[in-house]
């Protein structure tokens, strides 16, 4: 009788362990793969060196990729493209599209990290893009169908797009940067922009101006996959004074949140454009604003306040939080991303 009880208990235990194992395996299988796309560069290092591309997301002991992937529990792939070239070129959009395809095929990035479940095996893939990476993704996703104006112009946009579930941009330069206007317009002496992002009017900077004639929206259709938008409003002394409305020191809110109309319109957390007033007629959605500057947005170094914005993701009770409500007192963008999937 006692043996039977023991056998029953052991059987129950085995079932329990198996259930936990199956559950854990299932949860692991449910993990997406995060693909990181960096922003504007003043040299080609991120294109030629994986270490540089990886370090784009690191600041001392702070590591955006580590936090966003929940201490690397989520598989990831870090893209490195030529951030000195215009967003649409082969070494920019083309390279990013090719690397996304590689990632979704299970090929390792330059650091040996790979998505554990390929697209063919049913995997899902999220892109996290910072700064100019936003414009690069706009161009890829807005030219991924044979009916689009610049279909597959510099890379396999259709394959890359098909395999992405959605994109999250942080400080995305969807409408360029007024910093680029200042540098290319000759008024850079008026503003001290972060040299790491905008040093001179190189080709990439020229194509990040606010003029319609260089904007990605002029050369793309609406993105075929959702682009979720988050960005900072922590000013940088010297440069923010030259940007209209709230900004992260390099990119103004009108661009971070992909607003329609003027790229230099003044917005803040209370009135930034909602989801029906975007640069394209579909597939841009607000998440939130954060008290981070353009560097903090990609290096996990500033655990700070987060604010609700119109059409954003935060709920207070059962209804969306009023714009400019403090929704978190200390959360980095990387931490925020880690709770979004």
């Amino acid at each position: 009788m006692q043996n039977r009880r023991i056998r029953t208990a052991l059987f129950a235990l085995a079932i329990g362990v198996a259930a936990i194992f199956v559950s854990a395996t299932s949860a692991a299988n449910a993990q997406p793969c995060l693909i990181f796309v960096h922003g504007k560069q003043t040299d080609t290092n991120t294109f030629t060196s994986y270490t540089s591309a990886r370090n784009y997301w690191v600041n001392g002991s702070h590591d955006f990729v580590r936090t966003a992937t929940k201490s690397f529990a989520t598989p990831y792939y870090v893209v490195g493209y030529n951030g000195t070239r215009p967003y649409w070129e082969a070494q920019a959009a083309g390279e990013v599209a090719n690397e996304i395809v590689n990632a979704t095929n299970g090929i390792a990035d330059g650091g040996g990290h790979r998505c554990t479940k390929t697209f063919a095996q049913g995997g899902t893939f999220l892109v996290v893009a910072h700064s100019m990476g936003g414009a690069v993704m706009d161009f890829i996703l807005g030219n991924d169908d044979a009916s689009d104006p610049n279909f597959n112009m510099t890379g396999p946009f259709d394959v890359a797009s098909q395999r992405i579930s959605f994109v999250i941009t942080t400080g995305g330069a969807h409408r360029g940067s007024q910093g680029a206007d200042a540098v290319c317009g000759g008024s850079n002496f008026l503003c001290n922009f972060i040299a790491g992002f905008i040093q001179n009017c190189d080709d990439a900077t020229n194509w990040l101006r606010s003029a319609d004639a260089v904007q990605v929206k002029t050369f793309s259709n609406a993105p075929s996959k959702l682009i979720y938008l988050s960005g900072g409003y922590e000013a940088i002394f010297g440069s923010s004074a030259c940007l209209n409305g709230e900004d992260d020191g390099v990119v103004q809110y009108a661009s971070i949140f992909a607003c329609n109309g003027s790229a230099t319109a003044s917005y803040d957390n209370t009135n930034v454009c909602g989801n029906s007033a975007k640069q394209e007629s579909a597939n841009f959605r607000n998440l939130d604003g954060c008290h981070e500057n353009h560097s903090d947005e990609r290096d996990d170094s500033d655990s700070d306040v987060r604010k609700a914005i119109p059409g954003g993701i935060w709920n207070c009770g059962t209804t969306p939080c009023a714009p400019n409500t403090t929704v978190q007192s200390a959360m980095t963008t990387a931490q925020f991303i880690s709770i979004l999937y």
Partner: protein, 326 residues
């Protein structure tokens, strides 16, 4: 990760639990995206319905926007620059505008000039802005300064994007600078003005005849308006065409008309043609209200969802990932 970092990480993670505010639900983005993709899968990528009250996206895309930049430390007044259009067909003149503004109110300027540069940075002329009421300036002394730039003749299918470096001097003698720009080119094809329409497989196919002046890739997009003057939907097409005459078909998927019980005739309210395949694209002038179709019954159009396989696949993957996680 050392022990201190782990401890810090745990503390940080504990702060992730929001007290009063929270994201809508776990895996909200995946579910949100899946839901939207299922809705959007009802139309092919080349065609999209517009919601009631939605603006014509093609006209919105072609509307020129104003660019402003303040002085040192954002000092007022700001220099605001804009054009009469975002692109110009060569050899048409390019009309440029500028004003100095403080809190949206125009203030005086001593002088405003502009340097025009092509995409390689080569100088392409200097313009003097004037506020004297002489064309292209509309009214003397209204604070809107105007200038005209005249480009040269170009071969079909060629063009460039131009930077305009504008320098203004305030009444106090302070400099203000801003960067505008425009597209200028000779399109490789032009619409002849001949159109035709038919119902094919439950969709409205609206075709525009084009004269191709130089072989290349061309993109056309159009907005269809209903009898009540509201835009109903957009369609687009791209094609590689040889020199000569050709037709480009805009396929307005029938569901956009069937669902709204829209009866013809329909109006092609906007038609944007461009020479594409290399950057910058060369944009033809936007054509407005170019064609009215025959009358159609709403029953002529399909109300069946298109079933875009790629979007549905993405939705399934997202939903499965959420289910597995739970």
């Amino acid at each position: 990760m050392n022990r201190i970092e782990k401890a810090a990480s745990l503390v940080a993670l504990s702060l992730l639990v929001p007290s009063a505010a929270a994201i809508a639900q776990e895996a909200y983005l995946a579910l949100d995206a899946a839901k939207l993709y299922r809705e959007q899968a009802a139309y092919p990528p080349s065609s999209r319905a517009l919601a009631a009250g939605e603006v014509d996206p093609i006209r919105a895309d072609r509307a020129p926007s104003r660019i402003s930049l303040g002085g040192p430390d954002g000092a007022a007044p700001a220099l605001v620059v804009w054009n009469s259009a975002i692109s110009y067909e060569a050899p048409k003149a390019v009309d440029l505008f500028a004003s100095l503004e403080t809190a949206g109110r125009k203030v005086g300027a001593l002088v405003i000039t502009g340097d025009v540069l092509d995409s390689s940075g080569q100088a392409s002329g200097t313009v003097q802005y004037r506020d004297d009421g002489i064309a292209p300036d509309a009214a003397a002394g209204d604070g809107i300064w105007s200038a005209r730039w005249q480009g040269g003749k170009l071969a079909p299918g060629t063009g460039d994007t131009y930077l305009v470096k504008v320098l203004a001097t305030t009444e106090k003698g302070e400099p203000r600078q801003a960067a505008g720009g425009f597209l200028y080119g000779k399109p490789g094809a032009r619409a002849t003005g001949r159109y035709r329409d038919e119902v094919r497989d439950g969709s409205l196919i609206l075709s525009a005849e084009v004269e191709v002046l130089a072989a290349g890739r061309f993109h056309a997009e159009g907005t269809l308006y209903g009898a009540n003057g509201e835009p109903l939907g957009v369609a687009q097409a791209s094609a590689d065409l040889p020199k000569g005459m050709a037709w480009i078909e805009l396929p307005f998927y029938g569901k956009m008309l069937a669902d709204r019980k829209a009866e013809g005739p329909f109006r092609l309210g906007s038609l944007a043609l461009s020479t594409v395949g290399r950057m910058p694209n060369v944009l033809n002038d936007l054509a407005l209200d170019v064609y009215v179709t025959r009358a159609y019954s709403a029953t002529a159009f399909t109300n069946a969802p298109y079933g875009d396989a790629k979007l549905l696949d993405t939705a399934v993957r997202l939903e499965r990932s959420v289910a597995e996680k739970q």
